[in-house]
């Protein structure tokens, strides 16, 4: 049981618990913070699996950018506490019944598939950034272009929707005088 394995199991446990907490959070901000913790867990796991560069990226891009974005929106729409917003209350037991069953079946399936594949043990050597860079720009150059395209579209979409939201907001504001 090397140090890395120990780190891995701890991180896994933390990630799973955090994600569970996200599901049953009663407060939007708490949910986002649990999400952050879960992402950190995942990052650690990636590190232990030899993806140091990727782990860092996860923290910077995923946790840093995406989750923070969530936080901004939550604050902007001020839907934090459950009292005002009925839709925040966590799922009740009967609602959970069917999804959980399905999820368990899915886990069982994938589990069987994984064990059947007998992937064996991770090779333990961390993959250097240079190796990533080389393969990235030598074999997957097309992928990079496409990724950039996706980001561009995401940008345009967000801008367009955002401006539409701004103008409607302006119109309403003008009508009832609030800014």
């Amino acid at each position: 049981m090397t140090l890395l394995a120990v780190i891995f199991y701890i991180a896994a446990a933390v990630a799973i618990l955090a994600t569970g907490a996200v599901l049953f959070a009663r407060n939007a901000v708490n949910a986002v913070l649990y999400l952050l913790v879960s992402l950190f867990g995942v990052a650690l796991m990636m590190y232990s699996l030899g993806g140091a560069f990727v782990a860092i990226l996860e923290i910077i891009v995923y946790a840093g950018a995406i989750v923070v974005l969530f936080l901004f929106v939550i604050m902007m729409l001020n839907i934090a506490r459950i009292e005002q917003h009925k839709d925040l209350q966590p799922p009740t037991r009967p609602q959970l019944l069917v999804p959980v069953i399905l999820a368990l079946v899915l886990m069982a399936d994938l589990g069987i598939a994984i064990y059947a594949a007998a992937a064996g043990v991770s090779s333990g050597k961390t993959i250097t950034v240079t190796a990533i860079g080389e393969t990235l720009y030598r074999q997957h150059y097309l992928g990079v272009e496409l990724a950039s395209l996706v980001l561009l579209i995401g940008l345009i979409g967000a801008l367009h929707l955002g401006s539409a939201a701004w103008f409607t907001h302006q119109k309403e504001a003008n009508q009832d005088g609030t800014c």
């Binding site: 069917v98 399905l102 899915l106 399936d109 994938l110 069987i112």
Partner: protein
């Protein structure tokens, strides 16, 4: 209208009657009602004259031809046994019937010209009357059974229309419907009989032979290996059933008494002289078939004598003048069928010949009585009409005497006596049948003179001052009375020094079939004739005793308004026997309750079944489909989470399936 070799064409005889009918139907709307009557009378008159021309040609001194066969065009063809031409075949049998139909028919047309004056549906009446004469003429002069069947059904249809002439009253419509349906049942049997004959030997009258060869056949393959004799028996019984339907013999006689709902000339023409005797013509025409099977002849004789007895018993207690005559017609046709049944075909036809005259006479005279009493039909409301309608009384008396078989003077005596004599002596006749026939002759004498004494003798019961009938109502009756008396001498038997001309006249037609040996040992025949004559006188005396003016009324007098008398009217007499006879031995009530009500019940049930079960099945299918719809709606309720769930379900299903499959 005469062929090159001098034989007159036969087709104009029915053609003129049809022409009259068509002209009336199409054009009479724009003419005065009376002209319709005139056209009708002239049309039938011409037909009658042309029949006489044909008769003269056939019976003329140097007559070489026994019959005229005139095929016109092929009618049914290409269907195996069903093979028929439209064509006419006039032999002596057809000639006699044609003369009666057109002659008596013409007289009745003249009578009804006066009788139906001012009637609301006069045009319609004369149109149907002409159509009837046309159908009857085609019936008797057709050259094959299928064309005869055309006339047979045409006659049925016309009787339906004429009985229901006064269609405003629903009883008349019911009577017309009953008449048509009962005769239609007989027609179903008839067509089956014809089909069997067609399959065996073909039904072309010109050579209706070969029945004897069929009788010898051990097995007729077309009929499930039945022996030739049984097939003939079945065919004969079917034909007899057809004849019974049309000629109102047991058990299909319920429609005739109700058919009196029609105007009196209709009763005279259709239900006395012509239509009801179609059965006699049929059996006479197929005598080759009947003679082959002794059991068949016995059956015919039995039906004949039983119906005669039934008719006579019912006639005695009737209160409506026309119903008495209706039951008497049933009885007299029973005699004719009896004559045919015992093998005396020519005498059966002779009785038809004489009966046509005196029965038509009785009906027309009754019509005059009813006409002058403004529709009164109940004999117990009449009385002492001798003084008001002397000529009608005399004619009625002659008719009644001939019906009763008044010895030596009337035609009825000779024709009925001939039948009774052959019932006794021929190979097919038997003593019990003779005795029953004799007893019925007694009953006939009683009811015919009961009618005369109640209607014409005694004092007037109701203060109805009858107005004198117009001449046109009287002289056709006079002519018929004359024939009713004279016609008998046509067949004066040897015992009375006569030449039995009629039997020799029909020799060629009923050649070897005449099972009846023309045994004429004077003494026995004289004795039998004397017996029947005596019985007639006894009957008349009994009638005088029971119903004559001096006698104290033994039989109670029910007083019912005219016209409503139907088979199912409440019984007017106290004694159950009288009521039984009055209602025609409850045959009609039985049929009404069993068949008519039964059929209505089955019909409503079938309709229920159709709507509920058969249609219900398809409604059920529709219901199931709607059920599926409701099921699927569950998954389409617009909530995204529901769609996500379904997607996940799909994913899971596929993965598990993929796993298992690998």
């Amino acid at each position: 209208m005469i062929y090159a070799d001098g034989t007159p064409m036969v087709w104009p005889i029915p053609a003129f009657a049809l022409l009259g009918a068509v002209v009336i139907f199409v054009f009479s709307r724009w003419w005065a009602p009376r002209t319709a009557g005139k056209i009708a009378c002239t049309a039938v008159g011409i037909s009658f004259l042309w029949t006489l021309v044909v008769a003269a040609h056939l019976l003329g001194s140097g007559a070489r031809q026994l019959a005229i066969h005139e095929p016109l065009w092929t009618w049914l063809s290409g269907a195996g046994p069903v093979d028929a031409k439209i064509g006419f075949y006039v032999d002596r049998l057809a000639l006699v019937f044609a003369i009666i139909v057109s002659g008596v028919g013409w007289l009745i047309h003249l009578y009804s010209y006066a009788y139906m004056e001012g009637d609301e549906g006069e045009r319609r009446f004369f149109g149907y009357l002409n159509l009837f004469v046309f159908s009857m003429l085609t019936l008797v002069m057709a050259d094959n059974a299928f064309f005869m069947f055309l006339g047979w059904e045409g006659v049925g249809a016309c009787s339906f229309l004429l009985i229901g002439h006064w269609y405003q009253k629903s009883e008349n419509c019911a009577a017309a419907q009953k008449a048509f349906l009962v005769t239609r049942l007989g027609d179903v049997f008839l067509i089956l009989g014809i089909l069997i004959c067609a399959l065996l030997v073909g039904v072309d009258y010109t050579n209706l032979v070969g029945f004897d060869k069929v009788r010898e056949l051990p097995q007729v393959d077309a009929f499930g290996h039945l022996s030739g004799k049984t097939v003939l028996l079945i065919a004969g019984l079917f034909l007899l059933a057809g004849a019974a339907g049309k000629s109102a013999q047991l058990p299909l006689q319920v429609w005739l008494p109700d058919a009196m709902a029609g105007p009196t000339p209709v009763s005279a023409l259709i239900h006395a002289a012509t239509m009801v005797t179609a059965g006699v013509y049929l059996i006479a025409r197929f005598h080759q078939l009947f003679v082959q099977v002794p059991e068949l002849m016995a059956a015919v004789a039995l039906v004949g004598v039983l119906t005669a007895f039934y008719g006579a018993t019912c006639a005695i207690v009737q209160t409506d003048i026309k119903r008495v005559l209706a039951y008497s017609t049933i009885s007299q046709i029973g005699y004719m069928i009896l004559g045919l049944g015992v093998g005396a075909f020519s005498l059966g036809v002779f009785h038809f010949f004489t009966h046509a005259f005196y029965k038509a006479l009785l009906f027309l005279a009754a019509g005059t009585v009813i006409h002058s009493l403004h529709g009164e039909q109940n004999i117990f409301n009449m009385g002492g009409l001798k003084r008001f309608l002397p000529r009608t009384y005399l004619a009625f008396l002659a008719g009644a005497a001939s019906l009763a078989g008044f010895p030596l003077v009337t035609a009825g005596f000779f024709s009925k006596d001939g039948i009774l004599w052959s019932a006794l002596t021929t190979q097919f006749g038997s003593v019990p049948i003779y005795l029953l026939g004799l007893f019925t002759a007694l009953l006939t004498a009683i009811y015919s003179f009961r009618l005369v004494f109640i209607v014409f003798f005694g004092e007037q019961r109701k203060e109805i001052h009858p107005h004198a009938p117009s001449s046109l109502l009287e002289w056709p009756v006079m002519i018929l009375a004359l024939f009713a008396v004279v016609a008998g001498y046509l067949n004066l038997p040897h015992a009375f020094g006569g030449g039995a001309w009629w039997e020799h006249f029909f020799e060629p037609v009923f050649k070897e079939a005449e099972a009846r040996p023309l045994v004429h040992d004077g003494a026995k025949e004289l004795l039998a004739a004397g017996a029947s004559g005596l019985l007639a006188l006894v009957g008349i005396a009994a009638a005088w005793k029971l119903y004559g003016p001096p006698a104290r009324r033994i039989v109670p007098e029910p007083v019912i308004a005219a016209g409503e008398i139907q088979n199912d009217t409440p019984a007017p007499y106290k004694s159950p026997l009288a009521n039984l006879l009055f209602a025609g031995w409850y045959f009609d009530r039985l049929y009404m309750r069993v068949f008519v009500r039964g059929f209505k019940l089955v019909a409503t049930l079938a309709n229920l079944v159709d709507n509920v079960i058969v249609d219900g099945f398809y409604e059920l299918v529709a219901l199931i489909v709607r059920g599926f719809h409701a099921l699927l709606v569950f998954f389409q309720n617009g909530r995204t989470s529901r769609y996500a769930l379904v997607m996940l379900f799909g994913a899971v299903a596929i993965t598990t399936f993929a796993l298992m499959w690998r």
